[in-house]
Symmetry: C2
Subunit: 174 residues, 2 copies
Amino acid sequence: MKSVATNNQTQLATASADPTLDRDAMQFHEALSELIRIYQFRDRKRICCHDISVTQCYALDALVRRGALTLNELATELYLDKSTASRVLDALERKDYLVRETDPEDRRAIQVALTPQGRELHARIEADLLEEHKRLLADLDPEVRQAISNLIGRLAREASERFSRVDGSCCKAQ
Amino acid sequence: MKSVATNNQTQLATASADPTLDRDAMQFHEALSELIRIYQFRDRKRICCHDISVTQCYALDALVRRGALTLNELATELYLDKSTASRVLDALERKDYLVRETDPEDRRAIQVALTPQGRELHARIEADLLEEHKRLLADLDPEVRQAISNLIGRLAREASERFSRVDGSCCKAQ
DNA sequence: TTATAATGTTGGTAGTAACAATGAAATCGG
DNA sequence: CCGATTTCATTGTTACTACCAACATTATAA
């Protein structure tokens, strides 16, 4: 179906229905790949500022967005193993960014809650990112900004649906 | 909403010049964060299909885009330490996706070149991604597709400039 | 009550990535 | 030309991440 060394097949697949789709998709693919690539590398060196890692940052963010969570909920939210999530919490708890509290309704479970320091760190990181994004948007027209946000939001939603549907566990790698 | 309860200064900074920028930037920030987040998690489990990791995939991609490279060039391209890049090559060479060849002009250096298998794997991965992106774009108008690609390309370029300029080595983490 | 399931923790293992040190080859200065 | 320095790639070491499996504790079902 998709041995692409040649591009005849993909053309055949959709050319009749939508002649520009292939070219548009190619352009989109190149642009998005580059964007993802840049942000991914940036993540390693910049998002995780102040003294936390990328995963820890996502954990903080999840706790701000969703409020106090149990470890299982957090692990699900972050697509992590619960043991990994537990260790992520260890690190954040050591730095006083959150606390584990036993759930009064289910004494097996814990409620993970941010401390003021954790909330403050998250706010600082968010503010930094927002500032960056503001600079990126500054010289665009307001209606273009709106269009971008809408489109990116839509992309995110569609991507999310697609990825959650498929879920083949690839990448054991080595 | 969100974390930004704290910062009046960002409002002061630009409110007079551009009244919608703050709100637009906020929306953009949320949309983009979500997109990045989704792609980042997907990376871990899906891009790296077939039998290679994310980093290995980027290495393949760099070799396709830039042709044969020395290890140093590749490490720079991937923002990796030389030693890490060398081990990435180990893995890919073991799977016969590339070969190391001594550079005839500098016998300290190696030229890393893809094998036919490596090229074919890259083509297959690209084709998969392209197919996904095609599906994402399929129900958008052609002019909207163009606008998206242009905007994303621009975002990538601006982000790239910004990130390469700053380069504070954060994230020692733990 | 006992059996089963769920929650979170810990141990073990593998992979990733950085820093440091090394060997080998090229380059520079005298 | 020769020694010192620099550059290129690799190996050793260390730290972190993430997965699986096993476990103690608690909840729920039979």
